[in-house]
């Protein structure tokens, strides 16, 4: 029985994965430098240009990013996609008042769903399984994230969310 949702990617030789990663990283860095004021500024500050990224290891030339950066740019100043392309916001509770907001395009939701589908299939799950998702649904990513993944692999999803004790044991 197959244990891969997407064998082409999941069983790709390491060398090819690295090539793919490099290609995606390169595109990402160019895109951020060109279109994101936040990243453009950050890269200038650290005197690094997209052309400096010539191997995967060159990622070390890029500055780190911290949770504080996300909070400082509340709610959506750091987003690359325009608002009309966003299909979802999730929010994680902040320790210092303002929470952290994350936005998703339709393609983000698709990639996220597929990554969970891969994980579930790698554990041997699939159609015929009944999956009870007992993470909080709503702003917390655990509920809807796992829900979409479980639905994608064709399992029967019971979206109990959290908080109903007895109903679960019935």
């Amino acid at each position: 029985m197959t244990r891969a949702w997407d064998p082409r990617i999941e069983e790709m030789p390491l060398e090819d994965i690295k090539k793919l990663q490099y290609r995606l990283l390169k595109t990402l860095v160019y895109k951020l430098y060109s279109f994101s004021p936040f990243y453009h500024h950050r890269m200038e500050e650290n005197k690094v240009h997209p052309d400096d990224i010539r191997t995967l290891a060159d990622i070390q030339k890029l500055p780190f990013m911290y949770k504080k950066d996300l909070r400082d740019n509340y709610p959506d100043k750091i987003f690359l996609a325009p608002q009309e392309e966003l299909v979802r916001y999730h929010v994680s509770s902040g320790t210092t008042g303002k929470p952290t907001v994350v936005g998703y395009t339709a393609r983000d939701i698709e990639n996220w769903t597929v990554s969970i589908a891969r994980a579930m299939v790698s554990c041997g799950l699939g159609r015929g399984d009944v999956i009870q998702v007992s993470y909080g649904y709503g702003l917390f990513t655990g509920g809807l994230g796992n829900h979409y993944g479980a639905e994608r692999i064709g399992a029967t999803v019971i979206p109990t969310s959290v908080g109903i004790r007895n109903a679960r044991s019935n």
Partner: protein, 430 residues
């Protein structure tokens, strides 16, 4: 604006032809369910005996109690591996009603919600805050999938933390909210307390409990939005069954997916346009859990006039229930559920009274129950323990916070015949 103009505006003759085709298919499909094989057998009727839409009157009704008796999967017409979702609604005696969905059901349901949202002028430019329970309650995921299909930005805020809800509306520039009308009023109050202006809001979608025209005016003036009534029930997918259009004079029910009758709740006799009775629905596009002549328990009437928007026949806004079901903060509660919980607690008697009030625009349920002398030591702390236990057991069973008063044995009214244990004091509150 239309989401699916062809099906939303089908001319009467084409619609009836489609309905009959889908009805026949449904009646064959329900033969996969033991309950229907038996019922049809008893009535001496087969799917082939239905030649016109009116022939549906020959078929037996399906009641909520039938669904409960089928717990958990007795009404599924497809193998469980084709069911990709299960929702439940609270039942009267502990066991909930289970509803199942195939992949196609989930798609059909999302499309109906998309029709409703498009009908009231919403589009992919809108930012939608979904302030209802996610999880087992169909209102959360139902609207979520519909809004996502339209291409809106969805803020899945769920319920609770109202100050945070207000902040998100402001910070994200939310244009549309969905919640119960009573929660919307609470939101307005909190926003006013905070001195927050919700200028970005333009549309409110309100459902899961009946609400009045004066409530509509109140919500519209305090939240600065246009309010629309939404109707649905989990047995018919969930929300999205019927919805108001811009005319806001009755709700368009989607006749290509739901065959509608209004019957006398006592006799089951089919009523005509303008006659008030119980809504009975035969879903025409449900795969996992098809139903025949489902008694919704909701009181409404078919409206006679055609609508300028071009869509089909409307039903009136829901006027009440034909049974004793209560809707508390959007959650269905049957008095028998409360009885069931209390009977399992030896420290209290079986007599009880339920009071429902609206406090700060939110439903509050208070339950008076008699203490059982055999279990009561006379200590005050004992009383507190028992009270806490009853509150906890009720919360686990109903998913609702209640206030419990323990009273002297023999102090509650006894009833001869039909007990009147429910005092709903919300009427007239708004």
């Amino acid at each position: 604006m239309f989401w699916d103009e062809k099906y939303e505006t089908l001319p009467k003759r084409d619609l009836e032809r489609l309905q009959l085709k889908r009805l026949k298919k449904t009646l064959v499909h329900v033969q996969n369910v033991e309950f229907y094989r038996q019922k049809f057998g008893e009535a001496g009727i087969g799917p082939g005996d239905i030649k016109t839409l009116d022939d549906i009157r020959k078929l037996p009704f399906t009641r909520k109690q039938d669904l409960r008796n089928g717990y958990p999967f007795g009404f599924f017409a497809v193998p469980i591996d084709r069911v990709i979702r299960i929702h439940t609604t609270s039942g009267t005696t502990g066991k909930p009603t289970v509803v199942g969905y195939t992949k196609k059901d989930i798609r059909t349901w999302a499309n109906l919600i998309s029709r409703n949202m498009t009908m009231v002028g919403l589009s992919d430019r809108d930012i939608f805050q979904n302030m209802v329970n996610y999880g087992m309650f169909t209102g959360g995921l139902g609207f979520h999938y519909g809004a996502e299909l339209v291409g809106m930005t969805v803020v899945p805020s769920a319920t609770g933390n109202t100050r945070r809800q207000v902040e998100m509306i402001q910070d994200f520039g939310v244009t549309v909210i969905h919640c119960t009308p009573s929660y919307a009023l609470h939101l307005a109050e909190v926003a006013e307390e905070m001195g927050a202006h919700l200028d970005s809001l333009k549309t409110g979608l309100f459902g899961a409990e009946p609400w009045s025209e004066s409530m509509r005016r109140e919500l519209e003036s305090r939240l600065g939005l246009t309010a629309y009534d939404s109707y649905g029930l989990s047995e018919l997918f969930g929300p999205g069954v019927a919805f108001e259009c811009g005319e806001r004079d009755g709700l368009h029910i989607w006749h290509d997916c739901y065959l509608v009758e209004v019957v006398d709740p006592a006799t089951g006799e089919v009523l005509g346009e303008g006659e008030r009775g119980e809504l009975v629905v035969t879903p025409l596009a449900k795969e996992a859990m098809p139903l025949v002549r489902y008694r919704t328990g909701d009181i409404t009437m078919l409206k006679g006039d055609s609508c300028p928007c071009g869509r089909g026949q409307k039903i009136a806004r829901i006027m009440g229930r034909s049974d004793d079901m209560l809707v508390i903060r959007g959650i269905n509660v049957f008095p028998s559920q409360i009885e069931h919980v209390l009977l399992d607690i030896p420290e209290v008697g079986s007599q009880f009274m339920v009071y429902v009030d609206r406090v700060n625009h939110l439903d509050e349920m208070t339950i008076d129950v008699e203490i059982n002398r055999d279990y009561f030591s006379g200590e005050l702390q004992d009383l507190a323990r028992i009270q806490k236990k009853v509150v906890k057991e009720l919360r686990d069973a109903l998913e609702l916070r209640t206030t419990v008063n323990l009273v002297e044995p023999g102090s509650l009214p006894r009833f001869e015949g039909k007990a009147k244990r429910i005092v709903d004091r919300r009427a007239g509150a708004l």
